[in-house]
């Protein structure tokens, strides 16, 4: 059998996962530096230039921490939980196209790990499995704080998953496909071809972003780990790299959410203007840069919001999810369906 | 100099003269010592009568006079928000009380009486939840009594 495509796939997987891990490390630095700027502080600036090596130092620290396993905890599940969270977060990113099909070293490489027909569903499925990591962590710790945090967190995640999925359905309706590469292809050219404009999806985009914030447990929806009441929620009992893996999963999920938003609404890797005669590596270099730039902007937004807003109360958060976002997403879908039916939105 | 508490003491003198055991004044602050039996009645009046309206029970505490026949002196500080007047009421009791609780009139008496019990061992009759508040539950001594040594050793 032909082994070559598999080797290319494996190479893509390894490179992308490493880039994501690097992104996580970089984001922890960005988070701390940006929060420091917002708060008139300096932030990490000792380890390496501008403190850039701080994440490495943190990584080493995490690896060297003593391993504590709470007494009475369910060992296998306790150890499995961070793995589940980490793996599902990593898998969800696989369907995001970060560049076009390129010729590289004489091979044709599609710059997406998984070009599935139901690609968006794959991302949703991976996210929905991410709940298990949290539920298991909460339950296996055998601590009230962890269990309550885990329950809250998973209830929150499933609630916002609905709004997230429903908001995305409108995009599928506009583009008539679930395949991310096709969704991106439909948004080529000028930025007014992006779904957020051409597809009349501004509301959907906002809903998607809000639900995305809740889905990744970021402020103002960071209830599951609201340290003021539940100490640290489902990862109260976790330490060392096991804690860090939840942490990494959160950052990867943030990146996935940003990348999905960019893919669905903001033209994916298309820079937003016709690229004209550009071809070959300058073209896809530009496109990857555009993708990275857009995702980077949303990552910055995540950080900015976190250090600016207070946090919702749990009932308010559930209210927002079920009574605001969900009906709004339905209304948005109905509106989009009408626009598509009467050919206001062209396919 | 302000004459704090004169209003209250006079009110008691008019309405419950039999309850007053003694009265006094220092630095413009009047105090009155009441009979423990009539304490609740008098306080009801002081609290409810619009002429006095001592709506705020500022503090409850006690002083231990070990050589007296009635060694415990419970001290209440009242304040009338409307009249801007402070009144000090004292009640004498035996080593462990009892003194009737005032928590039915002022809810602030709840924790303050608990603290007084905790520190002096004075029991407050009718208190809803007379437990130790500052010291551990299994503590046996009453630290603010005079016989409690500062250094044990």
């Amino acid at each position: 059998m032909d082994i070559q495509p598999l080797v290319i796939s494996l190479a893509k997987i390894i490179i992308i996962s490493q880039v994501l891990m690097g992104g996580v490390a970089f984001m922890t630095w960005v988070e701390r530096r940006v929060s420091a700027i917002i708060q008139f502080r300096l932030g990490p600036n000792r380890v390496g230039p501008f403190g850039l090596f701080q994440p490495i130092a943190d990584g080493i620290k995490f690896l060297m921490k003593d391993e504590t396993l709470p007494a009475g905890s369910h060992r296998p599940l306790f150890l499995l939980a961070p793995v589940i969270a980490f793996v599902t977060a990593l898998c969800a990113f696989a369907v995001v196209p970060f560049g076009p099909i390129v010729e590289l070293f004489g091979y044709t490489v599609n710059l997406v790990i998984l070009d599935l027909d139901g690609g968006m569903l794959f991302a949703l499925a991976a996210t929905s499995l991410g709940v298990y990591g949290i539920v298991c962590a909460g339950w296996a710790s055998r601590s009230k704080y962890a269990l309550m945090g885990g329950l809250r967190s998973s209830a929150q995640m499933v609630s916002y998953e609905l709004a997230l999925g429903l908001a995305a359905v409108s995009v599928f309706l506009v583009n008539g496909t679930l395949r991310p590469t096709e969704i991106v292809a439909a948004q080529a050219g000028w930025f007014w071809n992006w779904n957020v404009f051409a597809g009349f999806q501004l509301l959907g985009f906002l809903l998607f972003m809000i639900a995305g914030y809740a889905e990744t447990n970021r402020l103002p929806f960071d209830l599951p780990e609201a340290e003021s009441e539940l100490v640290a929620g489902y990862h109260t009992e976790y330490s060392s790299m096991k804690f860090s893996m939840f942490f990494m999963a959160e950052y990867i999920a943030m990146m996935t959410m940003s990348a999905l938003a960019v893919t669905l609404y903001l033209g994916g890797f298309h820079p937003g203007f016709p690229t004209g005669d550009l071809a070959g590596w300058p073209l896809w270099g530009l496109q990857i840069a555009a993708f990275t730039g857009k995702v980077g902007f949303f990552m910055f937004l995540f950080v900015w919001v976190r250090w600016t807003l207070p946090r919702f109360r749990y009932d308010q958060l559930m209210d927002l999810g079920w009574k605001r976002l969900f009906p709004l997403a339905l209304a948005n879908l109905a509106m989009t369906a009408l626009l598509v039916a009467f050919d206001v939105i062209k396919g | 100099m302000t004459q704090d508490g004169k209003l209250g003491v006079d009110w008691i003198q008019t309405n419950h003269p039999e309850a007053i055991l003694s009265r006094g004044e220092y630095a413009g602050q009047h105090w009155v010592q009441l009979d423990a039996q009539s304490l609740v009645d008098v306080c009801h009046g002081l609290h409810g009568d619009p002429d006095t309206a001592y709506s705020l029970l500022v503090d409850v505490t006690a002083v231990h006079w070990p050589n007296d026949p009635q060694p415990m002196e419970v001290v209440y500080h009242l304040y009338s928000v409307e009249k801007n007047d402070r009144l000090r009421i004292k009640v004498r009791c035996g080593d462990e009380g009892p003194v009737p609780t005032l928590s039915g009139i002022w809810r602030s008496a709840d924790w303050n009486e608990r603290e007084t019990y905790d520190m002096f061992g004075i029991r407050f009759d009718g208190h809803p939840d007379l437990r130790r508040i500052l010291m551990p539950d299994d503590y046996t001594d009453f630290p603010l009594r005079k016989e409690f040594p500062l250094y044990r050793g």
Binding site: G118, A125, S128, L129, V135, W139, S154, A155 | -
Partner: protein, 168 residues
């Protein structure tokens, strides 16, 4: 390719059977539930093997991602581990469960036996198993079934609220 598919089939079968055994025999209900979730995911693998991508993904989203979460919630919320009597099965259960299992096995065996003689299902188009294929069928051929589903869902909704409200 056939060889690789067989290998995949064998691995998936092993995983599915092993997790099913854990579901039945593990003492802890939480582990059983998690094993069931794993079982459902491996069944999604079968769908993938059969080229039914969409079904596979839905299997994961709906069964593993939603229904098993509910079951886990119930187990964790109500701490069934401590409810006495839940580990003991009633008379009806001991009799009926094997019977139903046997019935299912016979029915499936029959289906396989009959199907073995007939022609294999011929995939009709390159679209087979994709979202588009499912959608086209669903919204034309199975129109009534589709509408009936919404009624079913509403009934379930009402039932859930009524049941929960009794405790609220």
């Amino acid at each position: 390719m056939g060889g690789l598919e067989t290998v995949g089939f064998i691995i998936l079968t092993t995983l599915a059977l092993a997790s099913a055994v854990v579901v039945v025999f593990h003492r802890s209900p939480v582990i059983s539930a998690l094993a069931l979730a794993f079982n459902l995911v491996s069944i999604a693998g079968f769908y993938l093997l059969l080229n039914a991508q969409f079904l596979a993904l839905l299997q994961v989203i709906v069964y593993a991602g939603a229904i098993m979460v509910l079951i886990l919630f119930v187990i964790m919320l109500l701490s069934i581990a401590n409810e006495p009597g839940l580990h003991r099965s009633g008379f009806l259960q001991t009799i009926l469960a094997p019977l139903i299992a046997l019935g299912c096995a016979v029915a499936m065996g029959l289906a396989v036996y009959r199907g073995a003689d007939g022609p294999a299902y011929v995939v009709s188009s390159t679209d087979f198993g994709t979202v588009r294929d499912v959608g086209t069928e669903l919204f034309s051929t199975f129109f009534y079934a589709f509408e009936a589903i919404s009624l079913l869902l509403v009934v379930a909704m009402v039932g859930a609220v009524l049941l929960a409200k009794r405790r609220l």
